[in-house]
């Protein structure tokens, strides 16, 4: 089984946060989802490549709730347990679109650099 990061503050938190936010938005875009389900979905979707630090996941969820990107409601799970379900708001959907576009451009730009075949010309 994969293990999570034990430390709450990883050095590349800035990058991680932005990435985490967009992944959360994508996760809840499928429908109301509690925090555990969000973590599980991201893990399984990335084939366990991306380990979500639970200590960072919840602050991100709450922050996005306060910003109005997602909405929260208490509901019961299939096992009749109370859980907090997050849902994408209209504002959140808009945000997801923007973030996804910029992520694509970023990723392809980095990819172009990494796989470049043209040698820089030395003057």
């Amino acid at each position: 089984m994969p293990t999570s990061h034990a430390n709450g503050a990883s050095p590349d938190l800035g990058l991680l946060q932005g990435t985490l936010d967009v992944m959360i938005l994508k996760a809840v875009s499928w429908g109301p989802m509690h925090g555990f389900a969000v973590a599980k979905w991201i893990r399984s979707t990335t084939d366990d490549v991306l380990q979500i630090d639970d200590g960072a996941l919840y602050p991100a969820l709450h922050r996005m709730e306060h910003r109005g990107l997602i909405d929260a409601d208490w509901d019961l799970t299939e096992n009749k347990r109370r859980a907090k379900y997050y849902r994408l708001t209209a504002k959140g959907r808009q945000e997801l679109r923007v973030r996804a576009t910029s992520w694509d451009r970023y990723a392809s730009a980095v990819s172009k650099v990494i796989h470049a075949t043209v040698q820089p010309s030395v003057s």
Binding site: S4, G8, H34, F36, G55, Y58, P59, H66, R81, K84
Partner: protein, 899 residues
């Protein structure tokens, strides 16, 4: 422990909103549990699964803390935004509602304006008297040094040599100023005036930290020598009054008491001298302007200078007091005659107003009037509360509907408070006008004939702050009862009842209690006013031990360059001779000091026992220098011996007359005639007692007479002198002739302070507090009465409006109109009696506090209590009569149909 407290706090908060802490806990534990279940399902043993789930999560505690604080911050900012929006809404609703009832707005606004305005005016007087620092640099840090004596416990002025020693020796003072005030004749091109000036040491302005507006203030050695630097710094007021604000005044030569003096500077407008109630015209360096003080400034027994200064930085008040006490002891050892039992006190300048002698009384009186004002304020608030309560009750249906559609109780309460605050703000604006009107009225009170009084009422930061605070407190106080009524309204009752104004009996009782309470307070204020008026009248009539009617007084000062002692004595003899010839004049006298006047002097008395030379042992007693038939003119009975005669002149043995208190203090039980004492310390003149007179009042009305010594002017020349004449007819009728007598002898002399003894006593300091007391208390009493009338009228007419239907039914069933009127009137009168009873009990209980300043009247004075009862019931009857007439005119058919 802190954690426990937090949890309790959160429990409390959950009444209003979601429990953040519990939600965070639930969310996180769900995550860990779900992961544990998942691992179990995959075959991991339960405890291992839980351990792994926790490990995977990381620091659960940190996450919990982070989430809680994030959510709480967010919730708080949400609430703030929400609240601000709500308040704006409330204000809009309140303005709409108030616009619909302009009558209520007018009455409530006026009541607030009166209540707050009068409070503000009174506060501004107290502020000027007690709190406002002197202008200049850091006036609040100034301290005053006073002298105490065994025989005269109130602190008073210092002798100049003592002042010099304190200034030179003590390490606690950074600086000390000595000054004394006097009246002089100031003559410019525009004419002559009698004005008040301060004679001060040259560091006066430097210590105050006051820069001149024009010219300069004193140079450091401008007070050296005698009559060497005749200069004056005018106050702004003096500059305006005598030079009409002429900016070329610097360097101008004027005369003071006929001697040339140069104007060197003008102070800024905010400076009026250092005595809070007196408007000075200028300040001169001490002993530099004619007449010089001469020996008075070298005499340790002559307490003539007021002293103020600043402590060295870092010296604590208690250390300073201790040092001053030690210094006083040291001076006592060095000068056992003049400084016997002489101590010193150090007080903050603000606690020595208006003068160090009466500062204690001032504080008490100021406190009493502030208390009175606060009572009036409470009455005003009770009134407003009553009116608004009626409004809340009559709007019951409106409030019930709002509650039914989901407005919270808090919301309804807030609505009422917002309305009340708006009304109070409106009143507060009106209050500024009332403050100034009241202040002007107070300034016009004629206090004394001779002193330029300045009430100093002006808008400053403290007064504005006070008014704002009073407004908010008033709004809260007046809004609380109606607001709680709004909260408690029973929804079902209101919606069921057709009228929508189902005043429950509890509300009716509350409103009645408010009105009865304000009647009670009005009673207290009115009783206080009545007592002061009676006391003031009594004080005027009180036997002071001397004749107060049919006496005219006028004063004149003989300039020293044209009158030496011989010429002066000649002048006095002629004045006495010619005055006696004026028709209606019964007897004539001269006196250096008049009883209850503003100046008096003390001297050290050393008794000489026959045969035996006693150790040095002096007493400081008041004395007076008199001429003519002083005791006959003032009707002071001679108990033993003889009065002064013309034969007691410079060639005859020096004589004195003393009062019975003097004999009692010096030689109790022994015959006094023939006893001798030294006047002016152990090397003073020896005087022989030739007569004993009965003691009389001199400083405070009702005081026990103090030991007193009289000297004949024929043996102790003094100037200025006051001429006193006892007349058969109205004393003012001889004023013209008396002026002519002086002018006939020397037309260049100015005659001042022409007044009857009655006037002198009424306007002088003797009755000042009495007169101010009755004026203020009467004004407040009337104000409280007006407010109580509004209150009774409001409650009774509201009750009539509410009971219209009931009255209609009664009439339909045959009740006669007078019976209806009696019913309504009875309600008002019942409130009146209850309030009156409570008020009388309260007055008798509390008026003991003021009884110490009352003369010849007790707090249970039947005349005062009886009048208050009469006036109050009359006013209550009138206030209820108007609604009673309205009730009588109710048409039963209309009233029944309207419901």
């Amino acid at each position: 422990m802190a954690g426990d407290d937090t949890r309790k706090w959160h429990r409390y908060l959950t009444f209003w909103r979601a429990n953040i802490a519990a939600d965070v806990d639930t969310e996180l534990s769900f995550h860990v549990d779900a992961r544990t279940e998942e691992l179990c399902a995959a075959g991991v043993e339960r405890s291992a699964a839980r351990a792994q789930a926790l490990r995977e999560f990381g620091d659960v505690d940190l996450a919990r803390r982070t989430l809680r604080s994030m959510d709480e911050r967010h919730a708080a900012s949400e609430r703030r935004a929400h609240f601000a929006g709500d308040i704006l809404g409330d204000i809009r609703v309140a303005i709409r509602a108030l616009r619909r009832s302009p009558g209520l707005v007018a009455v409530v606004g006026l009541t607030f304006a009166l209540g707050i305005g009068v409070t503000g005016a009174m506060y501004s007087v107290v502020d000027n008297m007690l709190f406002k620092p002197l202008p200049g640099r850091d006036g609040a840090a100034l301290v005053v040094l006073g002298r105490t004596e065994e025989k005269l416990p109130q602190p008073h002025e210092l002798s100049f040599p003592d002042y010099r020693d304190y200034r030179a020796d003590t390490t606690v003072f950074a600086s000390l100023v000595a000054y004394t005030s006097r009246v002089v004749e100031l003559k410019t091109d525009r004419g002559a005036d009698r004005v008040w000036i301060d004679d001060a040491t040259a560091n006066y302005f430097a210590v105050l930290g006051l820069r001149p507006m024009l010219g300069r203030t004193f140079d450091p050695d401008e007070d050296r020598g005698t009559l060497a630097h005749p200069t004056i710094v005018l106050t702004y007021k003096g500059w305006q009054a005598h030079f009409a604000g002429d900016s070329g005044v610097i360097g101008r030569a004027i005369t003071i008491n006929g001697h040339p003096v140069t104007v060197i500077g003008v102070t800024p407008p905010e400076f009026h001298g250092v005595r809070p109630l007196v408007d000075m015209d200028g300040v001169v360096p001490i002993d530099q302007v004619w007449p010089a003080y001469g020996a008075d400034l070298e005499n340790r027994a002559s307490a003539v200078v007021s002293v103020f200064g600043r402590l060295r930085p870092g010296v604590s008040p208690s250390a300073a007091r201790e040092a001053v006490r030690l210094k006083a002891r040291q001076l006592e050892r060095a000068y056992p005659v003049s400084n016997r039992n002489v101590g010193a006190v150090l007080l903050r300048e603000q606690f020595t107003r208006p003068s160090i002698n009466v500062a204690e009384i001032t504080l008490g009186i100021a406190a009493m009037f502030m208390a009175l004002v606060i009572l009036v304020m409470i009455v005003a608030c009770a009134n407003i509360a009553s009116l608004l309560l009626a409004r809340v009750v009559s709007r019951g249906r409106d409030l019930a509907v709002r509650a039914a559609i989901g407005a919270s109780q808090w919301r309804l309460v807030r609505q009422v408070l917002v309305e009340c605050t708006l009304l109070a703000l409106l009143g507060g604006i009106g209050a500024v006008g009332v403050t100034f009107a009241a202040a002007r009225a107070m300034s016009s009170i004629n206090v004394a004939t001779d002193i330029p009084i300045r009430w100093g009422i002006e808008l400053n930061g403290r007064i504005v702050a006070f008014t704002i605070l009073a407004t908010l407190l008033a709004a809260l106080a007046a809004g609380l009862a109606p607001a709680s009524a709004a909260r408690k309204r029973n929804l079902h009752d209101v919606l069921r009842s057709g009228t929508g104004n189902s005043a429950t009996s509890a509300h009716r009782r509350l409103r009645s209690a408010l009105v009865a309470g304000q009647i009670a307070i009005s009673v207290v204020v009115l009783v206080c006013a009545g007592l002061f008026v009676r006391s003031s009248a009594n004080a005027t009539r009180m036997n002071l031990g001397f004749r107060t009617d049919h006496v005219l007084m006028l004063s004149t000062e003989l300039r020293r360059e044209s009158y030496d002692t011989t010429r002066g004595q000649q002048f006095y003899r002629e004045v006495l001779r010619r005055s006696a010839a004026v028709p209606s004049v019964q007897s004539v006298a001269l006196a250096r000091f008049v009883p209850f006047g503003y100046d008096r002097a003390m001297q050290t008395i050393v008794p000489i026992a026959p045969g035996v030379q006693l150790p040095v042992n002096g007493f400081s007693y008041f004395y007076n220098v008199v001429g003519g038939d002083y005791f006959a003119t003032l009707g002071i009975p001679l108990l033993e011996g003889r009065a002064f005669t013309d034969r007691d002149d410079a060639t005859a043995p020096p004589v004195a007359i003393v009062n019975d208190a003097f004999v009692k203090a010096m030689w109790p039980g022994q015959p006094a005639i023939g006893k001798r004492f030294r006047f002016g310390g152990s090397d003073g003149r020896v005087l022989e007692i030739v007569g004993v007179v009965r003691g009389m009042g001199d400083l405070l009305i009702g005081e026990t007479p103090k030991p007193y010594v009289f000297l004949p002017v024929t043996q102790a020349y003094r100037t200025p002198m006051t001429i006193l004449v006892h007349t058969a007819s109205d004393p003012t009728s001889v004023a013209r002739s008396m002026r002519d007598v002086v002018a006939g002898l020397d037309p260049t002399l100015s005659v001042f302070d022409v007044r009857t003894m009655e006037n002198h006593l009424r306007n002088g300091q003797a009755l000042l507090f009495q007169r101010l007391g009755s004026a203020f208390a009467t004004a407040f009493g009337l104000l409280a009465l007006v407010l109580a009338t509004i209150g009774v009228y409001g409650v009774v007419s509201y009750a009539v409006a509410q009971r219209t239907r009931e009255i209609g039914v009664r009439m339909a069933l045959g009740a006669r109109r007078p019976a209806i009127a009696r019913l309504v009137l009875g309600q008002g009168m019942r409130l009146g009696w209850i309030g009156l009873a409570i008020g009388l009990v309260l007055s008798v209980a509390t008026m003991g506090v003021v009884s110490s300043v009352l003369y010849g009247v007790t707090p249970r004075d039947p005349l005062v209590l009886g009048s208050v009862v009469g006036i109050l019931m009359l006013v209550v009857a009138i206030a209820s009569l108007v609604p009673a007439r309205r009730a009588m005119r109710i048409d039963p058919i209309t009233s029944l149909r309207s419901q």
